[in-house]
C-alpha cells in the first residue's frame, strides 16, 4: 500500500494472523477515545480498481491532516479509520456495518463502483451514519443520508455531445460497457445527439471482460460514423484503444469519451500516440486554471512527493467531500447528523479546486462547474468551461424536500 510499513502496522498484521489461527473469538476492538471524531474510509485498496481507490484514500487522509492542522473540529481531533474492501461486496457490507455500529463513525467516505455504493448505502441509511459518495456515476440516487458529489450524465454528456458534434459531425457510433452505467449513459448520448439534430448509427455494449474488439472495429468501419462515443470501462476495455490505433483508425475517426481518464489510470497505461485527441468532459481536471487548484495540486505534491496520487474527479471530489463535511460540522456546531445535513442543504457555495460547488437540497447531488478537455501527451487541455451545471437527471426523479425518507436508487428512464 501507500504508506511505509511502520512497526505498528507490522504488529497489527501479526495480531491479525494470530487472531485468525484461533478460529472464532473476535479480537477485542480498542475502545475509541471520546475526544476523537471518526471518519470512515471505504475505498478499494487492492483488487482490480485499486488504481482509483488508492488515490482517493490518500487524499482523504491528507484532508484529515489538514483539518487537524487547522485545529480539528469542535475542539476534537479527527481520526481516519480505513478498511480495504478488496473489491469484494460482502466485505463492503461488513466494513460498512462495522464503521456504523462498532467504530461509531461520524461520516463514511467511499464506495467506487455503483454496486459497492448500493451495497453500503442502505446499511449506512439504516444505521443513520452520514455517507459521502464521491465518484461520477449514472445518477438517480435519492437518499437524504447520502451526499453524491460526482458528476452524472446530465452534467457531462449534455455538454460533451453538442461540443464534439460541432467539431466532427452528426453521425455518432456509441460503444459502452454492458452494465447499468454504460446502458444509462448510452441512452443519454442518444437523447442529446437527437436533440442536436444528429443520429446514433449504432450502439454496441460490451461485457467488462471483453478484450478483443476486432469485430466491432470492422463494424464501425462499415458504418462510417463522424465520431465514436466511448463509455467503455475497466482494464479489459483498454484494449479497444490500442486495437483501434493498430487498425490505423486513429486519424480516421475521432473518439469522445465519458470514461477515458476518469479514474486516471487510462492516461498512464495507454500511450500518448494512441490516446491523444480523445475529448472528455468531467467535473475536474488537474489543469483547471484557478489559484485554488494550483495551490491544491502543489499541496498534494508536497504531501506525497513519492507515489503522488492521480488527481482526477474521484480524488478531487473526495477532498471536497471532506471539506464540505468539516464546514457543515463547524456550522452545525455539533455531530448531530440531521443538523449537519441541514447545514449542507442551505445551498451554501463552496470554493473548491474544481471551481464553485454547492449541494442541491432537492437531490443531495452537487451543482458544479464542468469542463471539456482535449487529451494531448497525458495533459488535459481545457477547451471550455460550463458554470454551475445542475444534476438535471436526478432532479427528474428525486425530491428530498417532498420526500425526505426516500431510500432508493432510481433508474432514470428516458422512454
Amino acid at each position: 500500500m501507500t504508506r511505509n510499513i511502520s512497526r505498528r502496522s507490522i504488529l497489527k498484521g501479526t495480531a491479525a494472523l494470530a487472531g485468525a489461527a484461533g478460529t472464532l473469538p473476535m479480537l477485542p476492538f480498542a475502545a475509541q477515545a471520546a475526544d476523537e471524531i471518526i471518519v470512515g474510509g471505504l475505498h478499494d485498496l487492492s483488487g482490480f480498481i485499486d488504481f482509483a481507490g488508492i488515490p482517493m484514500n490518500q487524499i482523504m487522509l491528507m484532508a484529515i491532516e489538514e483539518i487537524n492542522a487547522s485545529g480539528g473540529l469542535l475542539g476534537k481531533k479527527v481520526k481516519g479509520v480505513v478498511y480495504d474492501p478488496q473489491t469484494n461486496m460482502s466485505l463492503y457490507s461488513q466494513y460498512a456495518t462495522q464503521l456504523a455500529l462498532k467504530d461509531k463513525a461520524a461520516v463514511v467516505m467511499g464506495g467506487i463502483t455503483s454496486a459497492s455504493r448500493e451495497t453500503i448505502r442502505p446499511i449506512l441509511h439504516r444505521y443513520k451514519t452520514l455517507y459521502f459518495y464521491n465518484t461520477l456515476y449514472e445518477g438517480g440516487v435519492c437518499d437524504r443520508n447520502e451526499i453524491s458529489l460526482g458528476t452524472t450524465p446530465a452534467q457531462t454528456v449534455e455538454k460533451l455531445v453538442p461540443y464534439t458534434m460541432g467539431l466532427w459531425g452528426k453521425k455518432v457510433y456509441t460503444i459502452a460497457a454492458d452494465y447499468n452505467y454504460g446502458q444509462i449513459t448510452a441512452a443519454w448520448v442518444k437523447r442529446y445527439v437527437e436533440q442536436n439534430g444528429g443520429e446514433v448509427v449504432s450502439t454496441d455494449f460490451f461485457p467488462l471482460d471483453v478484450t478483443n474488439f476486432g469485430p466491432t472495429i470492422s463494424k464501425i468501419q462499415s458504418a462510417k460514423p463522424d465520431m465514436v462515443m466511448s463509455a467503455l470501462v475497466g482494464s479489459g476495455h483498454l484494449g479497444f484503444y490500442n486495437q483501434w490505433a493498430a487498425a490505423g483508425m486513429k486519424n480516421e475517426i475521432p473518439i469522445a469519451s465519458t470514461t477515458f481518464g476518469a479514474g486516471g489510470a487510462e492516461i498512464e497505461i495507454i500511450q500518448p500516440e494512441v490516446a491523444n485527441g480523445i475529448i472528455s468532459c468531467y467535473g475536474y481536471y488537474p489543469t483547471v486554471d484557478t489559484p485554488e487548484n494550483k495551490a491544491w495540486v502543489q499541496a498534494v505534491k508536497k504531501r506525497y512527493p513519492e507515489k503522488t496520487p492521480l488527481l482526477t474527479e474521484l480524488s478531487a471530489f473526495t477532498w471536497e467531500g471532506m471539506m464540505i463535511w468539516a464546514d457543515a460540522v463547524r456550522t452545525a456546531g455539533s455531530l448531530d447528523r440531521v443538523k449537519i445535513i441541514e447545514a449542507m442543504e442551505t445551498g451554501k457555495t463552496y470554493t473548491m479546486p474544481s471551481g464553485k460547488v454547492s449541494i442541491d437540497p432537492l437531490t443531495h447531488h452537487a451543482i458544479r462547474d464542468v469542463y471539456i478537455a482535449d487529451l494531448q501527451d497525458k495533459q488535459f487541455i481545457i477547451k471550455k468551461k460550463f458554470s454551475q451545471v445542475q444534476p438535471a437527471d436526478t432532479q427528474l426523479v428525486c425530491n428530498l424536500k417532498k420526500n425526505p425518507d426516500a431510500n432508493k436508487h432510481y433508474e432514470i428512464s428516458l422512454e
Binding site: 487492492s46 476486432g214 470492422s218 468501419q221 479489459g236 483498454l238 490500442n242 486495437q243 493498430a246 497505461i269
Partner: protein, 288 residues
C-alpha cells in the same frame, strides 16, 4: 466481398488468440496433469516484461520474442522447484497452490510496479482492404500462432526431447526405468509451458491493457480450450481452438460479444458431453 475477407481474418485471429493463450497450459496439463491456475498471471508477467524492457530502450521484437518467454520460463522453473514438484499426482492440491500463486503474483506486481504502467503501442499500422482496414499486427498474430503450434509439433514429433516428452505423457514410470530422469523432464516441461505463457503475454501486450489483473480475463478461455481439446497438446489445442474460436467469433459478428462468449461456453459443453475425455480422447487419439 471485402467484408467477408475481414470476417475471415477476424475468425482466424480468434482461433490464433486461443492457440496462443492455451498452448502453455496444454503442455503443462497434458504432460504433467497439473492445472496451472496461475497461467494467466504468467501471461501478465510476459506482458510486463515487454512493457518494462521496451521502456528501457530494448527493441520491441527482442522484448516480445526473446525476453518475455525467457524471463517467464526461468520464473516457471523456479516455481516448479519451490512449489509444483511437491504436488505431482495431486491435481486438486496443485490447483489450490497455483491459485495461491496467482493471487500472490497479482499482489506482488501491484506493489512493485504499481497498478499503472505505460503500455506499448502496436507495431505496424493498418492494411486497407476495400473500405476496411485491418491491423497488420492481427495478421502477424495469426502467423505467430501458426508458427508457434508448428514448432511444438515438430519438436514433439521429430526430436529426442520430444520423444521423451511424449513417452513421459504415456507412461512416466517406464520412462524412469529406461534411465531418464523424469524430475528434469517435469522441470523442463513446466519451464517451457511458462515460457509459452510469457510469449503469449508478450504478443498480446501491444493490443491489450497491461495491468496486474489481466490474467484473470484470459485464464477461463485458455482453460476451457485445453480441457475441450483433451490430452494431446497439438491436435487438442488446434482442434478445440479451431472449433470454439470460429463459432464464437461468427456469433460475435452476428449478434454481439455476449452471445459470442456464451456460445463458446455452450459449444464446449456440448463437445464435452459428446466426447467426455476431450476431443483427442476419442478422435485423433494417436496424435501428439
Amino acid at each position: 466481398m471485402d467484408f467477408s475477407l475481414v470476417v475471415a481474418i477476424e475468425l482466424l485471429r480468434e482461433v490464433a488468440g486461443l492457440i496462443l493463450i492455451a498452448t502453455g497450459l496444454a503442455v503443462i496439463f497434458g504432460m504433467m496433469r497439473v492445472i496451472n491456475i496461475a497461467h494467466g498471471e504468467f501471461m501478465m508477467l510476459g506482458g510486463y516484461t515487454v512493457v518494462l524492457t521496451t521502456k528501457l530502450g530494448v527493441n520491441i521484437w527482442v522484448a516480445i520474442l526473446i525476453l518475455a518467454p525467457l524471463a517467464v520460463g526461468l520464473f516457471g522453473i523456479i516455481v516448479e522447484r519451490l512449489i509444483i514438484r511437491h504436488l505431482y499426482g495431486r491435481i486438486i492440491d496443485s490447483l489450490l497452490a497455483t491459485w495461491g500463486l496467482s493471487l500472490f503474483l497479482i499482489g506482488f506486481v501491484t506493489v512493485v510496479f504499481g497498478n499503472t504502467v505505460e503500455g506499448v503501442s502496436t507495431p505496424f499500422s493498418g492494411l486497407a482492404i476495400g473500405q476496411y482496414t485491418v491491423a497488420i499486427y492481427t495478421l502477424f498474430l495469426i502467423f505467430a500462432a501458426m508458427a508457434f503450434i508448428a514448432s511444438v509439433y515438430l519438436t514433439l514429433r521429430y526430436t529426442k526431447a520430444g520423444l521423451i516428452a511424449r513417452a513421459t505423457m504415456q507412461n512416466p514410470d517406464m520412462v524412469e526405468c529406461l534411465g531418464v530422469n523424469s524430475k528434469i523432464v517435469y522441470m523442463a516441461t513446466f519451464g517451457i509451458g511458462a515460457a509459452f505463457a510469457g510469449l503469449a503475454g508478450g504478443l498480446l501486450a501491444p493490443i491489450s491493457g497491461v495491468v496486474p489483473g489481466m490474467g484473470a480475463l484470459l485464464i477461463g478461455k485458455a482453460f476451457i480450450t485445453v480441457v475441450t481439446g483433451g490430452a494431446a497438446v497439438v491436435a487438442g489445442t488446434l482442434s478445440a481452438a479451431g472449433i470454439l474460436g470460429t463459432i464464437s467469433q461468427a456469433v460475435t459478428f452476428a449478434s454481439g460479444p455476449v452471445f459470442g462468449d456464451a456460445t463458446l461456453l455452450f459449444v464446449a459443453l456440448i463437445l464435452l458431453r459428446l466426447l467426455p475425455q476431450g476431443i483427442t480422447g476419442r478422435i485423433f487419439t494417436r496424435s501428439v
